[in-house]
C-alpha cells in the first residue's frame, strides 16, 4: 500500500502539489483523475522518487520511502510508466523489455567478465517473459524495430511492457490509454484485471477516459489544483458537483454510443 502524507511539491514559485494526502490500497485498482495540470503526474513522480517533495512523506507498506532514490523504489516493487514515452530509443523493442527486467547476476561486472555461466539461466527467463509481453501488446511485428522508430501509440505500449517486465507489486500507469487504439486498450484492460485478480498486483492509473476508468477501477481519487478533491467509487465521483465542474464539463460528446 502506498500512502502520501501531506505532500507538497514546489516548482520555483509554483506549488504543484499542496498538502495532498491519499492512499493507494494494496491489491486494488485505483483511478487517479483530475483536470489537466492538477498534479497527477507530479504525484506519480513523487511516489516513484523522480521528484523530491518539499514537504511530506511517502510510505510504502508503512515504511517511509521518501529518501529513497527512484531505482531503489523500483527494486522495492514499484513500477511506473511515463505519460510522455521514455523508451530506450536505440534498443529494439525486445531489448527495451529485457533491459527493464531486473538482472542481478547479469549486471554484476565480475560475473560478466569472469563467470559468464552465472547469469545464463536468468537471461533465458528474462527472454521468455519479454516474448510473452511482446505478444500480449501485439508488438510482434516490430519486435526487432528500434523503439525510437515506433509510432506514438506503440511507444506507449512499450512503456507498459517495461513496467510489466519488472514483475512489480505496484504499477503506476500514467495515461497509457491516451493514443492507444480502443480495441487494444480494452484487451489491455482485461490483462490488467487479470493481473490484479490472479497475482494480486496493485494498480494506480491516471486516465481521462472515464469508461476505461469505470471498467477497471473500484476506487477513484480526484485531484484538482494540487490537492485531493474527493474520492470514492466511480459512481460517486461521477455525480459529484465539484468534479463535474472541475473536470467533466458538459458531457456533450459522449464516449458511449
Amino acid at each position: 500500500m502506498i500512502e502520501l502524507d501531506k505532500i507538497c511539491v514546489d516548482f520555483g514559485g509554483l506549488r504543484a502539489i499542496d498538502h495532498a494526502s491519499f492512499k493507494i490500497g494494496a491489491g486494488r485498482i485505483t483511478g487517479l483523475i483530475g483536470p489537466n495540470g492538477a498534479g497527477k503526474t507530479t504525484a506519480f513522480n513523487v511516489i516513484a522518487g523522480a521528484i523530491r517533495p518539499s514537504a511530506g512523506r511517502v510510505l510504502l507498506d508503512g515504511k517511509d520511502i521518501t529518501a529513497l532514490k527512484p531505482h531503489q523504489r523500483a527494486k522495492a516493487g514499484l513500477a511506473r510508466t511515463f505519460q510522455i514515452p521514455h523508451e530506450f530509443g536505440h534498443l529494439s523493442v525486445l531489448e527495451n523489455l529485457m533491459a527493464s527486467a531486473s538482472a542481478p547476476e547479469g549486471e554484476n561486472v565480475f560475473n560478466v567478465i569472469f563467470r559468464r555461466g552465472h547469469y545464463q539461466a536468468e537471461e533465458q527467463e528474462i527472454y521468455e517473459t519479454a516474448r510473452d509481453t511482446v505478444r500480449l501488446l501485439e508488438l510482434d511485428h516490430v519486435i526487432d524495430e528500434k523503439a525510437g522508430n515506433l509510432s506514438g501509440g506503440q511507444k506507449k505500449l512499450v512503456e507498459l511492457g517495461r513496467a510489466l517486465m519488472r514483475n512489480p507489486k505496484i504499477i503506476l500507469l500514467d495515461e497509457i490509454g491516451a493514443g492507444i487504439n480502443r480495441t487494444l486498450l480494452s484487451k489491455l484492460a482485461d490483462k490488467i484485471l487479470m493481473l490484479n485478480r490472479e497475482r494480486g498486483l496493485t494498480f494506480c492509473l491516471i486516465e481521462h477516459d472515464l469508461d476505461y476508468v469505470s471498467k477497471l477501477c473500484d476506487h477513484v481519487l480526484v485531484m484538482a489544483q494540487g490537492t485531493l478533491l474527493t474520492e470514492g467509487s466511480v459512481e460517486d465521483v461521477r455525480n459529484d458537483e465539484r468534479v463535474i465542474e472541475a473536470y467533466f464539463g458538459g458531457g456533450k460528446y459522449e464516449a458511449q454510443l
Binding site: F11, L14, G34, P35, N36, G37, A38, K40, T41, T42, Q83, I84, P85, V142, N149, L150, S151, G152, G153, Q154, K156, L157, E175, A178, G179, I180, N181, R182, T183, L184, L185, S186, H208, D209, L210, D211, S214, K215, A246, Y247, F248, G249, G250, G251, K252, Y253, E254, A255, Q256, L257
Partner: protein, 239 residues
C-alpha cells in the same frame, strides 16, 4: 479563400520500405475529416507526409491546384497549412508566450494581438502559465500550447495529430467545440484521433487506415454504425 485537400495514391516512408501505400482521401474546404486506425497503422505518417516530413515515393498531394509533394516543410506554413505533431510539439525551453509567438513568424496573422487573445480564451489555463517554459507544463497543458501555436497563424488547413490525447473530458469538449467553430469559417481540418467515437461525432467523414492502406471510409454516422469497425477499432460494442 480555402481549398480542397486531395491525397491521391500516396506511398511514403522514412527511407526504408514505404509505411503508407496508395492512400487516398479528399477533404473539402470547411470539412472535418478524421483518420482512425490501430497503433502503427501509419496515421501519423500520413499527416507527416502531407506536411513534407517523409519521403514520398508515389502519388500526389494537392491543396487546391497546388502540388504539395516536393515542397519544403517550412514553405507550407505561409501557404496556410499548419500542423500539430503527436509528440514533441512544444518548444520546451521557451515560455508559453514565446511558443505562441513562434506561430506567427512564418505567416503573421492580420491582427496578432487579437489572434493571441482568441487563442488564450480558448485555453484559459495557459493564462497564468505565459511565462513558464513549456517543458515544465503538464501533458495536457502542452497539448494546449501546441494547438495554440498552430492556430496563431490563421491557417486554412490544420493537421492535428491526436489533439485530445491526454486532455480532460472538459477540454476534449472544448476542443471539439472549437473545431466545429473554426470549421464554420471555412477552415479545413484533418485530424488523427484515438478518441474515435467522440471524434466521429463531429467529423464529416472518417477514414480508417490499417497497415498503411485505406481500409474503410464513410461519414461519421456510417462508421459508427458499422459492426466491424466498432469491433476492430472502436473497442468493441462499448462497455
Amino acid at each position: 479563400m480555402t481549398e480542397r485537400l486531395s491525397v491521391t495514391n500516396v506511398s511514403a516512408g522514412y527511407g526504408g520500405p514505404p509505411i503508407i501505400e496508395e492512400v487516398s482521401l479528399t477533404v473539402e474546404p470547411g470539412e472535418i475529416a478524421v483518420i482512425l486506425g490501430p497503433n502503427g497503422a501509419g496515421k501519423s505518417t500520413l499527416l507527416k507526409t502531407i506536411f513534407a516530413l517523409t519521403t514520398v515515393s508515389a502519388g500526389s498531394i494537392k491543396l487546391g491546384a497546388k502540388e504539395l509533394a516536393g515542397c519544403k516543410t517550412s514553405a507550407l506554413v505561409p501557404l496556410g497549412v499548419s500542423a500539430v505533431p503527436q509528440t514533441k510539439n512544444v518548444f520546451a525551453t521557451m515560455s508559453v508566450d514565446e511558443n505562441l509567438d513562434v506561430g506567427t513568424y512564418a505567416a503573421p496573422p492580420k491582427d496578432k494581438a487579437a489572434t493571441r487573445e482568441r487563442v488564450l480564451s480558448l485555453f484559459p489555463d495557459l493564462r497564468d502559465k505565459l511565462k513558464q517554459p513549456a517543458g515544465e507544463l503538464s501533458g495536457g497543458q502542452r497539448q494546449m500550447v501546441a494547438m495554440g501555436r498552430a492556430l496563431m497563424s490563421d491557417p486554412k488547413l490544420v493537421l492535428l495529430d491526436e489533439p485530445t490525447a491526454g486532455l480532460s473530458p472538459a477540454y476534449l469538449e472544448r476542443i471539439f467545440d472549437l473545431l466545429l467553430d473554426i470549421r464554420k469559417t471555412g477552415i479545413t481540418i484533418l485530424m488523427v484521433e484515438q478518441n474515435a467515437r467522440q471524434a466521429l461525432q463531429i467529423a464529416d467523414h472518417g477514414h480508417i487506415l490499417v497497415n498503411g492502406r485505406n481500409y474503410a471510409s464513410g461519414t461519421g454516422k456510417e462508421l459508427l454504425a458499422d459492426e466491424d469497425v466498432r469491433r476492430l477499432f472502436l473497442g468493441g460494442a462499448a462497455a
